[in-house]
């Protein structure tokens, strides 16, 4: 845990990469705000891709919050999204409340189910938890399919739009706002004392327990937060696309998010957000080009996931980070090894 040491030498060495990171973040946010005005992103099709990319970016960030820090793979992530979406859609349709109110309500239901699932599974070994979240997701999916009175099942539930416009641009800024808020909030949590506990638990459960941390409390808290965020994204999904089918909860949707999270780099939060845009847009273009092979993009996701797991377990974030260090080290070579160890690399120890 070199990251938290406050010795002057370490913090001096840390300042370099941190300042670089801050500059990069500001630049990236500026670029993402300006992007819809740069061709080809001015077209509606391209702006739709941007909305989808921001949505999956946010999902992958919240997924990474559990996978990358407490080392629990939430294999039911998409189902928690779907739960949030259905909650809001049904309430808006039945009681005519504003879709904006759906956000807290969707977060609430997904968070509560996350809390219950967490309480049940997170006492168990990691792999039990992953498989149990999968079971819970499939049960939710089964409910969405079978409770046709409420969800209309596979026919799909029509959902009223969030904004009174067909233009994709305002939706993009709403989702971008959600993405940036997610990144900021989760990064602040990770940098706090609580985040330190998360990382301690993710790296060595026994040692964390021995140093007086009650792992279950932190595990459940982390899982609940991530699920509540999933609920928020689900609400956006429902009111943006205007239709909800049980498929949104499916395992392949979770795997799509999971693939982006791991390809982006586990345990970094920003890695999945950064990689989601180029990957999602590339995949959409591929889909358009090769409409006869709609399954191809999933093969590519699978292959990339395997390659990342085998050869670059720290993902794109790891690659960018090592480039950043090289950049940072060039002017003043003194910061060498201390600078390297000062960047947080939880979960990327492999």
């Amino acid at each position: 845990m070199v990251t938290t040491s406050t010795t002057p030498a370490a913090s001096a060495a840390q300042r370099g990469p941190q300042r670089l990171g801050l500059i990069a973040a500001v630049v990236l946010i500026a670029v993402s705000i300006a992007l819809p005005f740069v061709p080809p992103f001015t077209g509606q099709d391209w702006q739709r891709y941007l909305v989808g990319a921001a949505l999956i970016a946010a999902s992958a960030v919240a997924f990474d919050f559990t996978a990358g820090y407490i080392d629990i793979v939430n294999f039911g992530f998409a189902a928690f999204m779907g739960l949030g979406g259905y909650t809001s859609a049904i309430l808006v349709n039945t009681y005519g409340i504003s879709p904006w109110l759906g956000f807290p309500l969707g977060a609430l239901t997904a968070g509560i189910l996350g809390l219950l699932t967490g309480l049940l599974t997170l006492r168990l070994r990691g792999i039990y938890a992953a498989v149990m979240t999968w079971f819970v997701a499939l049960a939710l999916l089964g409910l969405a399919r079978n409770l046709t009175d409420v969800t209309r099942g596979p026919l799909g539930l029509a959902v009223s739009p969030l904004l009174a416009t067909n233009d994709n641009l305002p939706y993009y800024y709403v989702m971008l706002g959600i993405l940036i808020a997610t990144l900021v909030v989760l990064t602040l949590v990770i940098r706090s004392r609580v985040g330190l506990a998360f990382r301690a638990i993710g790296q060595n459960l026994q040692a964390a327990r021995a140093s007086g941390i009650n792992p279950t409390v932190f595990l459940v808290a982390n899982f609940t937060i991530s699920c509540a965020f999933a609920g928020v994204f689900g609400v956006f999904y429902a009111h943006y696309y205007g239709i909800l089918t049980p498929d949104v909860m499916g395992t392949s949707h979770t795997i799509e998010i999971l693939a982006i999270a791991y390809i982006g780099g586990r345990g970094s939060l920003w890695g999945p957000a950064v990689i989601a845009f180029p990957m999602y847009i590339a995949v959409q273009l591929l889909k358009v080009q090769l409409s006869s092979q709609p399954a191809l993009y999933l093969v590519i996701y699978g292959l990339l996931l395997i390659l990342v797991m085998l050869y670059r377990p720290d993902g794109a974030a790891g690659v960018i980070r090592s480039l950043g260090h090289r950049l940072d080290r060039r002017p003043k070579s003194g910061a060498g090894p201390a600078g390297a160890s000062a960047t947080p690399t939880p979960g990327a120890t492999a």
Binding site: V131, L138, V299, L310, Y311
Partner: protein
């Protein structure tokens, strides 16, 4: 006096061993099955036939976890490969049978060709998986091994499914029956030949599998590796070979199950999803890595499925077992048969 206390000491754990939640559930299950099978014998037939196949799936899944610590997500796709092999091998055989309806050897033994080839192809895929993926990962790092291999198999699973989708399309393709003969009378109940053979193949394969694990030199070596890798190496057991065999056997069994069951579950790219889920239900219910428990659990889950499908509706077949598993895990987090001893075939 001393002998009396000694026997008492032995009896206490024995009592605790048999008077517990696990046995209670088993007794209730057996009772339910008896009542139901008097009412509707075909449910019993279906439970035994499908339960046997789920046992092959779950047994293989538990074996790979026990020996190599890999929680496989790709197991269902080997089931899918099995249905494909059966489809492509049996379709020409079927037309040969139609051309020569009096060739009894062909008629009775022809269907087994696809099953055997499915097992072989499954085993080959298993060996390739070990060579190309798990060995590479093991060489690089054994940290977070369980999660990493889980994600590797998840990636592999998407590839299998979508390559199959690209190559063979999305539509179900199956074989309505292997043996075109009238149902056979078993204790007054008419049973379709395919169901009967499914059950016999399952029981036969399970018996061979059990004997192999318990009695053979190699099976014993597998169990030894699952209990203590270092100890196994001390005895001169090469881990690589055991890993290869484990994956070959487990993947072969999954493909065999797919080939045998194609009359019930025709090929689609995602036909393996449900068997994978069931195998995982069973393995979680029985305790990870416990092959013997997985075999018993498979019949339990098959029964729950049959009862759910019969009394509730087919749609609920995947929902109800989750509820049951959640209940079991609330009371017994290590599964029904899980124990402290890590091994693939507990005694």
């Amino acid at each position: 006096m001393t002998t009396a206390t000694a026997t008492n000491l032995k009896q206490v754990p024995l009592l605790r061993r048999y008077l517990n939640l696990t046995s209670a559930i088993l007794v209730v299950a057996a009772a339910a099955m008896i009542v139901v099978s008097i009412q509707n014998p075909s449910l019993l037939v279906n439970t035994l036939a499908t339960g046997g196949m789920w046992a092959l799936m779950a047994g293989g899944l538990a074996l790979v976890f026990g020996v190599m610590n890999i929680p496989s997500f790709v197991h269902g796709d080997l089931f899918m490969v099995g249905t494909l092999v059966a489809l492509f091998v049996f379709t020409p055989i079927q037309s040969m049978i139609q051309d020569a309806p009096n060739d009894f050897v062909l008629k009775w033994l022809g269907p087994f060709a696809g099953m055997i080839l499915a097992f072989i192809l499954g085993a080959v895929i298993g060996v390739l998986m070990e060579l190309l993926l798990f060995r590479q990962l093991r060489r690089r790092s054994r940290e977070q091994w369980v999660m990493n291999t889980f994600l590797l198999t998840a990636g592999l699973s998407i590839m299998f499914e979508n390559v199959a989708m690209m190559a063979f399309g999305n539509l179900p393709q199956g074989i309505s029956r292997y043996w075109d003969v009238p149902p056979i009378d078993v204790l007054g109940v008419p049973v379709a030949m395919d169901r009967l053979v499914t059950f016999i193949v399952a029981m036969g394969t399970l018996a061979v599998f059990a004997l192999f694990l318990q009695r053979s030199r190699t099976g014993r070596a597998m169990r030894a590796v699952s209990m203590d890798e270092t100890g196994a190496q001390m005895a001169g057991i090469g881990l690589t070979r055991i890993y290869q065999l484990t994956l070959a056997l487990s993947c072969g069994l999954a493909a065999l199950a797919g080939a045998v069951l194609i009359w019930l579950t025709p090929f689609t790219p995602t036909v393996g999803a449900s068997p994978l889920l069931i195998a995982w239900y069973v393995v979680i219910l029985a305790g990870l890595g416990n092959v013997q428990g997985a075999v018993v659990g498979a019949f339990l889950v098959a029964m729950v499925q049959q009862l759910t499908g019969y009394y509730l509706a087919l749609n609920w077949v995947d929902v109800l077992p989750t509820g049951i598993i959640i209940l079991v895990l609330l009371f017994k987090p290590s599964g029904l048969f899980g124990s402290e001893v890590k091994g693939v075939w507990e005694q």
